[in-house]
Amino acid sequence: MFNKEYESMEVKKLKELQLERLRWSLKHAYNNVAHYKNAFDKARFNPDKFSSLDDLKHVPFLMKQTMRDSYPYGLFAVPLEKVIRIHSSSGTTGNATVAGYTRNDIEVWAELIARSIVGAGGSEKDIVQDAYGYGLFTGGLGLHYGAEKLGATVIPVSAGNTERQLMLIKDFGTTILVCTPSYAVNMADYAEKKMPDYDFKKTKLKAGIFGAEPWTQSMRKEIENRMGIDAYDIYGLSEVMGPGVSCECSQKSGLHIFEDHFYVEVIDPETGEVLPEGEQGEIVYTSLTKEACPVIRYRSRDITRIYRDSCKCGRTMIKMEKVTGRSDDMLIIRGVNVFPMQIEAVLMEVEGTEPHYQIIVDRKGALDDVEIKVEVNEKIFTDQLGVLKGITERIEQRIRSVLGISAKITLVEPSTLQRSEGKAKRVIDKRNL
């Protein structure tokens, strides 16, 4: 553990710490951000009288839309001279959301990333290749500062130029790769196709810390097998901090949330009601120590479950399951809730199908029509038409039985679906056009 005192703190003490920090955070937000003052007043919530963690359920949620409407600095709780860094979401689905960090915020963030790297088996002896995008996106610089804080050697290569990434892994003796999981798959593909002599097993690469987009267990297995590494999930969102809100440990069963800095609740996304621990719903974040941009009950839209177990790694911090989807990624197809991740899991399960796919939803008459385009690769290609047809039928049948929807599977030529070195575009929903 990077910070044993906090990471393995007795749960009772941890909750006392959370309460104390939460009281500060609520007052800080109320006193310095107009939005929180108005929202708390309207809900007749007085942060001075806050006395129990349970009381948080009376506090109004912070919605993504409010963040967008506050563009750029509307939710900052400190003057800009205290802010030493700005990050921003890509804003592909509306106005970008902006996050500011004080010097202390950056310190905390770096520590949480350092904890995450240690959770993935890293130490100051490791060479960390940071292939997340550097820039406004939180991934690149977030991991960079955390790896430095740990004292590891950082290779700040940023995303892209796959051939150079592979060369650096080999030549610089990279031991830990950090990037998006889809980019890791891209790298493995590239090595296989373009660099037939490249053997991951002959490099020093031992682990990968992958995040910034949801990924499945089967994708984990694929990356682990192809790269000969252990793959760990890191989770975070720029609205709350960036990567490092939670991270997997050696057990790879659930991500420990760094509860000394974040208080989490899981709610029913329909009613907003807080669900008991262990139930699946939307996870809601409250920052406990953030100075520049405190977030109070931020609705992440990420669907997961939180639970506390006695983890063999010794950390006492509550766990969240790998995020299985986002409430706003959720497709409602003929009345059935479908997450792209579920479709991905089916594709991975059918042998040899790599997750290069795109889901296209359209409306034919009154009915939703789903087509899933899957790229053919050398592994599944066969000279026998019947076998290829059989693969599409098997996927269709599995999707029907697992998800309860019927979808048409279309095999397409390789590299025809949009690729990305950042986040993958998996869904095209034509119904609203």
Partner: protein
């Protein structure tokens, strides 16, 4: 003796076969015969070409999915009933044909058919014993 057939995956859409053929033309590869098996939205193009390995490398470099498949080129008399007699022998020998297609050019007075057998080695052995002329790769595509 096995002939290397090139099998290529293509979407069943305008221009896609054209793109593949352009890649081969640019590499100066000659197509000796070609057949397409298709379902509604994709197909497999099967070709006998002059430089199969080079063709595969060029197509892969252009992001096509393709693979080499071993087939047999068998000489038959170009007369009524000769294919029938060949198939009778295949049946007797319990050889399963996955697919077959004809060669465009005649060799003298003989026709050439391409056969993809489930078990190529057994098929070859049986056919030679039955006195078929299984054409050597070099006689068919050169090099």
């Amino acid at each position: 003796m096995n002939v290397t057939q090139l099998s290529l995956f293509l979407e069943n859409r305008p221009g896609h076969l054209l793109n593949a053929l352009k890649v081969m033309a640019d590499e100066n590869i000659n197509i000796l015969t070609l057949t397409i098996a298709e379902v509604s939205d994709f197909g497999i193009v099967r070709m006998i070409v002059t430089k199969p390995q080079k063709a595969i490398e060029a197509l892969r470099a252009h992001k096509f999915v393709c693979s080499p498949t071993d087939v047999l080129a068998i000489e038959l008399d170009d007369k009524p009933g000769s294919l029938l007699r060949a198939l009778e022998i295949f049946a007797k020998r319990n050889l399963n044909i996955e697919y077959m297609y004809a060669f465009t050019e005649k060799r003298g007075d003989k026709a050439v058919m391409i056969f993809k057998f489930s078990d190529i080695e057994t098929a070859k052995k049986s056919l030679l014993e039955e006195g078929f002329n299984v054409i050597k790769k070099i006689d068919l595509i050169g090099e």
